[in-house]
Amino acid sequence: MEFKDTQAIYVQIADYICEQVLLSKWQTEERLPSVRELAVLLEVNPNTVMRTCELLQQQEIIYNKRGIGYFISADAVKKIKQYKKEAFITNELPSFFRSMYLLDLDLDELKPHFEKFKKSNFN
Protein backbone atom coordinates (compact mmCIF):
# COMPACT_ATOMS: atom_id res chain seq x y z
CA MET A 1 0.00 0.00 0.00
CA GLU A 2 1.20 3.49 -0.92
CA PHE A 3 0.90 6.00 1.89
CA LYS A 4 0.27 9.66 1.23
CA ASP A 5 2.16 12.39 3.01
CA THR A 6 -0.91 14.29 3.99
CA GLN A 7 -2.57 12.24 6.67
CA ALA A 8 -1.54 10.26 9.71
CA ILE A 9 -0.72 6.67 8.83
CA TYR A 10 -3.23 5.19 11.28
CA VAL A 11 -6.04 7.16 9.60
CA GLN A 12 -4.89 6.00 6.17
CA ILE A 13 -4.93 2.39 7.36
CA ALA A 14 -8.47 2.91 8.69
CA ASP A 15 -9.48 4.21 5.25
CA TYR A 16 -7.82 1.19 3.64
CA ILE A 17 -9.78 -1.22 5.83
CA CYS A 18 -13.04 0.68 5.22
CA GLU A 19 -12.41 0.49 1.50
CA GLN A 20 -11.85 -3.27 1.64
CA VAL A 21 -15.24 -3.59 3.35
CA LEU A 22 -17.06 -1.23 0.98
CA LEU A 23 -15.61 -3.12 -1.99
CA SER A 24 -16.79 -6.36 -0.35
CA LYS A 25 -13.26 -7.74 -0.38
CA TRP A 26 -13.69 -8.26 3.34
CA GLN A 27 -17.13 -9.43 4.43
CA THR A 28 -19.03 -8.41 7.52
CA GLU A 29 -18.66 -10.75 10.49
CA GLU A 30 -15.35 -11.83 9.01
CA ARG A 31 -12.23 -11.79 11.16
CA LEU A 32 -9.75 -9.02 10.39
CA PRO A 33 -6.12 -10.10 9.85
CA SER A 34 -4.29 -9.85 13.19
CA VAL A 35 -2.54 -6.65 14.22
CA ARG A 36 0.80 -8.27 13.52
CA GLU A 37 -0.26 -9.57 10.11
CA LEU A 38 -1.53 -6.14 9.12
CA ALA A 39 1.66 -4.48 10.40
CA VAL A 40 3.81 -6.83 8.31
CA LEU A 41 1.57 -6.46 5.26
CA LEU A 42 1.62 -2.67 5.46
CA GLU A 43 5.21 -2.41 6.75
CA VAL A 44 4.27 -0.27 9.72
CA ASN A 45 4.69 -0.37 13.47
CA PRO A 46 2.13 -2.69 15.14
CA ASN A 47 1.34 0.13 17.59
CA THR A 48 0.08 2.15 14.61
CA VAL A 49 -2.25 -0.68 13.60
CA MET A 50 -3.45 -0.89 17.21
CA ARG A 51 -4.39 2.77 17.02
CA THR A 52 -6.29 2.14 13.79
CA CYS A 53 -8.22 -0.67 15.46
CA GLU A 54 -9.08 1.57 18.42
CA LEU A 55 -10.39 4.20 16.01
CA LEU A 56 -12.48 1.69 14.03
CA GLN A 57 -13.78 0.14 17.23
CA GLN A 58 -14.82 3.56 18.47
CA GLN A 59 -16.75 4.02 15.23
CA GLU A 60 -18.28 0.54 15.74
CA ILE A 61 -16.97 -0.56 12.35
CA ILE A 62 -15.11 -3.46 13.95
CA TYR A 63 -15.51 -5.17 17.29
CA ASN A 64 -13.18 -7.16 19.50
CA LYS A 65 -13.75 -10.78 20.45
CA ARG A 66 -11.51 -11.32 23.42
CA GLY A 67 -8.65 -13.65 22.65
CA ILE A 68 -9.68 -14.18 19.02
CA GLY A 69 -9.24 -10.80 17.36
CA TYR A 70 -11.14 -8.08 15.61
CA PHE A 71 -14.24 -8.74 13.51
CA ILE A 72 -16.07 -6.59 11.00
CA SER A 73 -19.41 -5.47 12.45
CA ALA A 74 -22.67 -6.65 10.92
CA ASP A 75 -23.65 -3.08 10.09
CA ALA A 76 -20.12 -1.99 9.17
CA VAL A 77 -21.14 -0.55 5.80
CA LYS A 78 -23.65 1.76 7.44
CA LYS A 79 -21.15 2.77 10.12
CA ILE A 80 -18.43 3.42 7.55
CA LYS A 81 -20.68 5.72 5.56
CA GLN A 82 -21.54 7.56 8.76
CA TYR A 83 -17.87 7.87 9.69
CA LYS A 84 -16.81 8.93 6.19
CA LYS A 85 -19.65 11.44 6.03
CA GLU A 86 -18.47 13.09 9.21
CA ALA A 87 -14.89 13.10 7.96
CA PHE A 88 -16.01 14.66 4.68
CA ILE A 89 -17.97 17.37 6.45
CA THR A 90 -15.13 18.32 8.79
CA ASN A 91 -12.17 17.85 6.44
CA GLU A 92 -13.23 18.55 2.87
CA LEU A 93 -16.30 20.73 3.03
CA PRO A 94 -14.66 23.81 4.59
CA SER A 95 -12.28 24.39 1.66
CA PHE A 96 -15.09 23.60 -0.80
CA PHE A 97 -17.34 26.12 0.90
CA ARG A 98 -14.55 28.65 0.97
CA SER A 99 -14.17 28.45 -2.81
CA MET A 100 -17.94 28.70 -3.21
CA TYR A 101 -18.02 31.80 -1.07
CA LEU A 102 -15.10 33.42 -2.88
CA LEU A 103 -16.70 32.71 -6.25
CA ASP A 104 -20.16 33.88 -5.21
CA LEU A 105 -21.58 30.46 -6.00
CA ASP A 106 -24.96 29.42 -4.75
CA LEU A 107 -25.88 25.89 -3.65
CA ASP A 108 -28.79 25.83 -6.11
CA GLU A 109 -26.43 26.74 -8.91
CA LEU A 110 -24.41 23.59 -8.19
CA LYS A 111 -27.33 21.21 -8.24
CA PRO A 112 -27.46 20.63 -12.02
CA HIS A 113 -23.69 20.00 -12.00
CA PHE A 114 -24.11 17.41 -9.28
CA GLU A 115 -26.96 15.68 -11.15
CA LYS A 116 -24.91 15.64 -14.33
CA PHE A 117 -21.93 14.23 -12.45
CA LYS A 118 -24.01 11.45 -10.91
CA LYS A 119 -25.48 10.56 -14.29
CA SER A 120 -22.19 10.37 -16.16
CA ASN A 121 -20.26 8.55 -13.42
CA PHE A 122 -22.65 6.31 -11.57
CA ASN A 123 -25.30 5.35 -14.06
Partner: protein
Protein backbone atom coordinates in the same frame (compact mmCIF):
# COMPACT_ATOMS: atom_id res chain seq x y z
CA UNK B 1 14.77 -0.99 29.82
CA UNK B 2 17.69 1.31 29.05
CA UNK B 3 18.54 3.96 31.60
CA UNK B 4 21.41 6.34 30.99
CA UNK B 5 22.17 8.81 33.77
CA UNK B 6 24.58 11.75 33.70
CA UNK B 7 26.73 10.05 31.09
CA UNK B 8 29.94 11.81 30.14
CA UNK B 9 32.33 10.38 27.61
CA UNK B 10 35.16 11.52 25.39
CA UNK B 11 37.51 9.77 23.01
CA UNK B 12 40.11 12.50 23.50
CA UNK B 13 40.93 14.68 26.47
CA UNK B 14 39.16 18.05 26.58
CA UNK B 15 36.94 17.02 23.65
CA UNK B 16 33.79 15.72 25.31
CA UNK B 17 31.39 13.82 23.06
CA UNK B 18 28.73 13.38 25.74
CA UNK B 19 28.32 15.74 28.64
CA UNK B 20 25.87 14.77 31.36
CA UNK B 21 23.65 12.92 28.89
CA UNK B 22 20.31 11.51 30.11
CA UNK B 23 18.15 8.97 28.29
CA UNK B 24 15.47 6.45 29.24
CA UNK B 25 14.11 3.94 26.75
CA UNK B 26 11.23 1.56 27.41
CA UNK B 27 10.26 -1.87 26.10
CA UNK B 28 7.59 -2.18 23.41
CA UNK B 29 8.95 0.56 21.17
CA UNK B 30 11.08 1.13 18.12
CA UNK B 31 13.27 4.14 18.79
CA UNK B 32 14.80 6.11 15.95
CA UNK B 33 18.08 7.70 17.02
CA UNK B 34 18.78 10.71 14.82
CA UNK B 35 21.75 13.04 14.75
CA UNK B 36 24.22 14.70 12.44
CA UNK B 37 27.44 12.98 11.39
CA UNK B 38 29.76 12.86 14.35
CA UNK B 39 27.03 13.65 16.88
CA UNK B 40 27.77 10.38 18.67
CA UNK B 41 24.98 8.04 17.56
CA UNK B 42 27.21 5.01 17.11
CA UNK B 43 29.12 5.82 20.29
CA UNK B 44 25.89 5.96 22.26
CA UNK B 45 24.78 2.61 20.83
CA UNK B 46 28.14 1.10 21.77
CA UNK B 47 27.71 2.40 25.31
CA UNK B 48 24.37 0.58 25.48
CA UNK B 49 25.96 -2.63 24.27
CA UNK B 50 28.84 -2.40 26.76
CA UNK B 51 31.47 -1.90 24.07
CA UNK B 52 32.50 1.48 25.46
CA UNK B 53 32.55 2.62 29.06
CA UNK B 54 31.22 5.85 30.56
CA UNK B 55 33.85 8.29 31.88
CA UNK B 56 31.23 9.49 34.33
CA UNK B 57 27.65 8.48 35.01
CA UNK B 58 25.93 5.16 34.36
CA UNK B 59 24.48 3.19 31.48
CA UNK B 60 22.08 0.55 32.78
CA UNK B 61 20.39 -1.93 30.47
CA UNK B 62 17.75 -4.33 31.84
CA UNK B 63 19.12 -3.52 35.28
CA UNK B 64 22.71 -4.47 34.40
CA UNK B 65 25.58 -2.04 34.14
CA UNK B 66 26.34 -2.45 30.44
CA UNK B 67 30.10 -1.96 30.90
CA UNK B 68 30.31 -5.02 33.18
CA UNK B 69 29.26 -7.25 30.25
CA UNK B 70 27.79 -9.95 32.45
CA UNK B 71 26.71 -13.09 30.55
CA UNK B 72 23.08 -12.64 31.64
CA UNK B 73 23.16 -9.19 30.02
CA UNK B 74 25.01 -10.25 26.86
CA UNK B 75 22.55 -13.03 26.05
CA UNK B 76 19.68 -10.54 25.98
CA UNK B 77 21.25 -7.84 23.79
CA UNK B 78 22.32 -7.78 20.16
CA UNK B 79 24.04 -5.01 18.24
CA UNK B 80 24.15 -4.81 14.46
CA UNK B 81 27.02 -2.39 13.87
CA UNK B 82 27.46 -0.34 10.74
CA UNK B 83 30.84 -1.87 10.04
CA UNK B 84 31.24 -5.50 10.86
CA UNK B 85 33.35 -8.54 10.24
CA UNK B 86 32.05 -11.99 9.38
CA UNK B 87 34.37 -15.00 9.43
CA UNK B 88 35.16 -17.18 6.42
CA UNK B 89 32.61 -19.90 7.17
CA UNK B 90 29.26 -21.05 5.81
CA UNK B 91 25.97 -19.72 7.17
CA UNK B 92 25.22 -23.04 8.85
CA UNK B 93 28.59 -23.08 10.53
CA UNK B 94 28.12 -19.48 11.65
CA UNK B 95 24.76 -20.27 13.24
CA UNK B 96 26.04 -23.43 14.92
CA UNK B 97 28.90 -21.44 16.42
CA UNK B 98 27.15 -18.27 17.56
CA UNK B 99 23.50 -19.23 18.19
CA UNK B 100 24.23 -21.16 21.41
CA UNK B 101 25.13 -17.86 23.11
CA UNK B 102 21.48 -16.82 22.76
CA UNK B 103 19.07 -19.06 24.70
CA UNK B 104 16.01 -17.79 22.81
CA UNK B 105 17.54 -18.21 19.35
CA UNK B 106 14.94 -19.34 16.83
CA UNK B 107 16.59 -21.29 14.04
CA UNK B 108 13.37 -21.64 12.02
CA UNK B 109 12.88 -17.88 12.12
CA UNK B 110 16.49 -17.31 11.06
CA UNK B 111 16.11 -19.36 7.89
CA UNK B 112 12.74 -17.82 7.12
CA UNK B 113 14.31 -14.33 7.34
CA UNK B 114 17.10 -15.45 5.00
CA UNK B 115 14.47 -16.72 2.60
CA UNK B 116 12.59 -13.41 2.83
CA UNK B 117 15.88 -11.67 1.99
CA UNK B 118 16.68 -14.10 -0.85
CA UNK B 119 19.98 -15.26 0.62
CA UNK B 120 21.28 -18.66 -0.52
CA UNK B 121 21.96 -20.90 2.47
CA UNK B 122 25.07 -22.69 1.28
CA UNK B 123 27.40 -19.77 0.57
CA UNK B 124 30.53 -18.78 2.42
CA UNK B 125 29.96 -15.52 4.27
CA UNK B 126 33.11 -14.01 2.82
CA UNK B 127 31.90 -14.65 -0.72
CA UNK B 128 28.89 -12.43 -0.27
CA UNK B 129 28.42 -8.77 -1.10
CA UNK B 130 28.25 -6.20 1.69
CA UNK B 131 24.46 -6.00 1.38
CA UNK B 132 24.05 -9.76 1.55
CA UNK B 133 26.29 -10.01 4.60
CA UNK B 134 24.28 -7.31 6.24
CA UNK B 135 21.08 -9.25 5.58
CA UNK B 136 22.60 -12.35 7.17
CA UNK B 137 23.57 -10.33 10.22
CA UNK B 138 20.14 -8.67 10.47
CA UNK B 139 18.44 -12.07 10.14
CA UNK B 140 20.69 -13.47 12.85
CA UNK B 141 20.03 -10.46 15.08
CA UNK B 142 16.26 -10.82 14.80
CA UNK B 143 16.42 -14.58 15.34
CA UNK B 144 18.31 -14.17 18.63
CA UNK B 145 15.07 -12.80 20.14
CA UNK B 146 17.02 -10.67 22.57
CA UNK B 147 15.11 -8.16 24.69
CA UNK B 148 17.28 -5.33 23.40
CA UNK B 149 18.08 -5.05 19.70
CA UNK B 150 20.31 -2.23 18.52
CA UNK B 151 20.94 -1.49 14.85
CA UNK B 152 23.32 1.11 13.52
CA UNK B 153 22.22 2.30 10.06
CA UNK B 154 20.61 -1.05 9.17
CA UNK B 155 19.28 0.05 5.77
CA UNK B 156 22.68 1.28 4.57
CA UNK B 157 23.78 -0.94 1.72
CA UNK B 158 20.40 -2.60 1.27
CA UNK B 159 18.98 -2.53 -2.24
CA UNK B 160 15.50 -1.17 -2.98
CA UNK B 161 13.46 -4.39 -2.64
CA UNK B 162 15.19 -5.40 0.57
CA UNK B 163 14.22 -2.17 2.31
CA UNK B 164 10.63 -3.29 2.05
CA UNK B 165 11.60 -6.78 3.24
CA UNK B 166 13.47 -5.19 6.12
CA UNK B 167 10.37 -3.26 7.19
CA UNK B 168 8.32 -6.44 7.08
CA UNK B 169 10.70 -8.45 9.25
CA UNK B 170 11.02 -5.61 11.77
CA UNK B 171 7.24 -5.16 11.93
CA UNK B 172 6.97 -8.86 12.69
CA UNK B 173 9.69 -8.72 15.36
CA UNK B 174 8.24 -6.00 17.58
CA UNK B 175 6.69 -7.11 20.83
CA UNK B 176 5.78 -5.60 24.18
CA UNK B 177 8.84 -6.92 25.95
CA UNK B 178 11.40 -5.86 23.33
CA UNK B 179 13.21 -2.58 22.93
CA UNK B 180 14.52 -1.83 19.43
CA UNK B 181 16.88 1.08 18.87
CA UNK B 182 17.76 2.07 15.30
CA UNK B 183 20.09 4.87 14.29
CA UNK B 184 19.53 6.16 10.81
CA UNK B 185 20.04 8.92 8.31
CA UNK B 186 17.55 7.39 5.90
CA UNK B 187 14.48 8.23 7.95
CA UNK B 188 12.20 7.78 4.97
CA UNK B 189 13.14 4.10 4.88
CA UNK B 190 11.79 3.62 8.36
CA UNK B 191 9.42 6.42 9.26
CA UNK B 192 6.37 4.17 9.50
CA UNK B 193 8.17 1.80 11.83
CA UNK B 194 9.79 4.18 14.27
CA UNK B 195 7.33 5.11 17.02
CA UNK B 196 9.62 7.29 19.13
CA UNK B 197 12.19 9.83 18.13
CA UNK B 198 15.45 10.53 19.94
CA UNK B 199 17.67 13.34 18.68
CA UNK B 200 21.24 13.70 19.80
CA UNK B 201 23.09 16.96 19.29
CA UNK B 202 25.79 19.01 21.02
CA UNK B 203 26.76 16.31 23.54
CA UNK B 204 23.18 15.79 24.73
CA UNK B 205 19.80 14.28 23.96
CA UNK B 206 17.85 17.33 22.85
CA UNK B 207 14.58 15.64 21.90
CA UNK B 208 12.79 12.45 22.87
CA UNK B 209 9.09 12.09 22.13
CA UNK B 210 6.82 9.43 20.74
CA UNK B 211 5.42 10.06 17.28
CA UNK B 212 1.85 10.22 18.55
CA UNK B 213 2.69 13.05 20.97
CA UNK B 214 4.53 14.86 18.19
CA UNK B 215 1.56 14.77 15.83
CA UNK B 216 -0.83 15.66 18.65
CA UNK B 217 1.13 18.84 19.24
CA UNK B 218 2.48 19.69 15.79
CA UNK B 219 1.01 19.75 12.30
CA UNK B 220 3.01 18.89 9.20
CA UNK B 221 1.65 20.12 5.91
CA UNK B 222 2.44 21.42 2.45
CA UNK B 223 1.08 24.83 1.51
CA UNK B 224 1.47 26.90 -1.62
CA UNK B 225 1.62 30.24 0.17
CA UNK B 226 3.30 30.42 3.48
CA UNK B 227 1.75 33.79 4.33
CA UNK B 228 -1.65 32.14 4.69
CA UNK B 229 -0.52 29.97 7.59
CA UNK B 230 -0.24 31.18 11.12
CA UNK B 231 2.21 30.08 13.77
CA UNK B 232 4.74 28.57 11.40
CA UNK B 233 7.56 27.05 13.45
CA UNK B 234 9.66 25.88 10.55
CA UNK B 235 9.40 25.92 6.77
CA UNK B 236 11.23 24.24 3.98
CA UNK B 237 10.61 25.40 0.43
CA UNK B 238 10.65 23.15 -2.58
CA UNK B 239 8.98 22.86 -5.97
CA UNK B 240 5.69 21.66 -4.55
CA UNK B 241 5.46 24.69 -2.27
CA UNK B 242 6.40 24.93 1.36
CA UNK B 243 6.42 22.06 3.78
CA UNK B 244 5.79 23.59 7.15
CA UNK B 245 5.45 22.72 10.79
CA UNK B 246 2.88 24.56 12.83
CA UNK B 247 1.38 24.06 16.24
CA UNK B 248 -1.52 21.62 16.03
CA UNK B 249 -4.34 23.77 17.35
CA UNK B 250 -7.26 21.69 16.12
CA UNK B 251 -7.63 17.95 16.15
CA UNK B 252 -5.61 17.44 13.02
CA UNK B 253 -3.98 14.13 12.27
CA UNK B 254 -1.10 14.89 9.98
CA UNK B 255 1.65 12.49 9.02
CA UNK B 256 4.95 13.16 10.71
CA UNK B 257 7.79 14.31 8.46
CA UNK B 258 10.83 13.19 10.42
CA UNK B 259 13.36 14.92 8.20
CA UNK B 260 11.51 18.20 8.56
CA UNK B 261 11.16 17.73 12.31
CA UNK B 262 14.87 16.96 12.63
CA UNK B 263 15.88 20.07 10.68
CA UNK B 264 13.39 22.15 12.62
CA UNK B 265 14.71 21.06 15.99
CA UNK B 266 18.31 21.60 14.98
CA UNK B 267 17.71 25.11 13.69
CA UNK B 268 14.86 26.34 15.84
CA UNK B 269 15.08 24.29 18.99
CA UNK B 270 13.69 26.59 21.68
CA UNK B 271 10.09 27.28 20.55
CA UNK B 272 9.49 23.66 19.60
CA UNK B 273 10.81 22.35 22.88
CA UNK B 274 8.61 24.78 24.77
CA UNK B 275 5.56 23.20 23.14
CA UNK B 276 6.54 19.82 24.53
CA UNK B 277 7.42 20.95 28.04
Amino acid sequence: MINIQSLSFSYRKNKPLFDNLQLRLEAGHIYGLLGKNGAGKSTLLKQMAGLLYPDKGTCEVMGYAAAKRQPAFLREIFLVPEEFYLPRVSITRYVNTYAPFYPNFDQGAFFSYLKEFDIPRDHMLTEMSYGQKKKVLISFALATNTKVLIMDEPTNGLDIPSKSQFRKVIAAAVSDDKCIVISTHQVRDLDNLIDSIVIINDHKIIFREDVQTVTDKLSFKTVSRIEESTGVLFADSNLRGHTIITRNTGQEHSKIDMELLFNAILTNQQPIQEIFN
